[in-house]
């Protein structure tokens, strides 16, 4: 039993080390806070070549170039927002996986609220219509009795 557990632990350790060694992006920044921001940013920026992958997950050359930009700009002391703005000035808002609010896409952000409002209005009208039927339902029953 002990032997199996030990073997499993060794396998897990090797797998962990190997996963880090073969990761798409082995970048390590000197400061853990910077490293955390680096990981967050590369995960929320799109690889423009593959389009459904983030910079962090993509093995293509352009993604590596853009990761290098993120790293260099973080090391140069630029803020996350400055880096996002820098990226979207070159590649458009499409590079941001988390879209920003802008006049152009305001209708997209507003649409769910408007639809909810329309739904509530329809619901209210239907309920009110049914409620008005209720008294009408009762009266004929009493009148239609055999006596």
């Amino acid at each position: 039993m002990m032997r199996v557990a030990r073997a499993l632990m060794i396998v897990a350790a090797v797998a962990f080390v190997a996963a880090r060694a073969f990761a798409v992006d082995p970048t390590e920044l000197p400061d853990p806070a910077l490293q955390a921001r680096y990981l967050a940013l590369t995960h929320e920026l799109r690889c423009m070549q593959c389009q459904n992958e983030s910079l962090a997950d993509s093995p293509v050359g352009l993604a590596a170039d853009l990761r290098r930009e993120v790293r260099d700009q973080l090391l140069a002391g630029r803020s996350d927002d400055q880096i996002r703005a820098w990226m979207s000035a070159r590649y458009g808002d499409f590079i941001l996986f988390r879209p920003r609010y802008s006049l152009r896409n305001a209708w997209l952000w507003g649409a769910p609220g408007v639809l909810l409002l329309i739904g509530a209005l329809v619901c209210w009208r239907v309920v009110r219509g049914r409620a008005r039927l209720l008294p009408g339902d009762h009266e004929p029953l009493e009148e239609d009795g055999p006596n």
Binding site: M48, L62, D65, L66, R90, G92
Partner: protein
């Protein structure tokens, strides 16, 4: 009868909106450049055929030019090469090349074998210059006006149709179809 009118109206409206969306949706996978209507990035990159010299945007002020991003590793670039040669022969607008993440010797070989349509070619080994232009896949071609503003971007291999329909009318100031 009137109870069907509202859903029918909504359906018709939706159909019209979607039809417009389909008609106007850009080619699949093509992303509009935020550079359009904005100043082209200033650049000064090593000259491919003269490594001590530079290709600089400052030298191009006051005239139209095409900025073509290519590489010998790029299949679409070979595909468009004949069109670039035609554009070069037409002599209407000079083509400035950016040899993106490429080997200089191979690039010089390519130009010797296939013909050289460029006024000058800059090199971008690090890929930094291409990022400035928002390039995400070669070939990409930008049309820059004399004021240094990017007025058109073609993504993918340049075609004779794109040249006559999109680029030539802009450079000559005449709408397409008139001569």
């Amino acid at each position: 009868m009137s109870r069907f009118l509202l859903p029918l109206g909504i359906f018709a409206l939706l159909a019209v909106v979607l039809a417009i969306g389909i008609r106007h949706s850009p080619e699949k996978g093509v992303i509009a450049s935020p550079l359009l209507g904005k100043p082209a990035p200033a650049f000064a990159v090593p000259n491919l055929s003269n490594p001590t010299g530079e290709v600089r945007s400052a030298d191009l002020r006051g005239r139209w030019y095409l900025f073509n991003v290519w590489g010998t590793w790029c299949a679409g670039c070979r595909e468009e090469h004949e069109t670039l040669l035609q554009v070069h022969r037409a002599g209407v607008v000079p083509i400035i090349g950016l040899d993106w993440k490429d080997d200089d010797a191979q690039a010089l070989d390519w130009l010797k074998q296939l013909g050289d349509p460029y006024q000058s070619v800059g090199t971008d080994h690090s890929g930094r210059e291409a990022i400035e232009w928002g390039v995400y896949g070669a070939p990409e071609t930008f049309l820059v006006n004399p004021q240094g503003i990017v007025v058109y971007k073609h993504i993918g291999a340049l075609t004779p149709e794109a040249w006559t329909r999109e680029i030539l009318p802009r450079v000559s100031g005449r709408p397409a179809g008139t001569s």
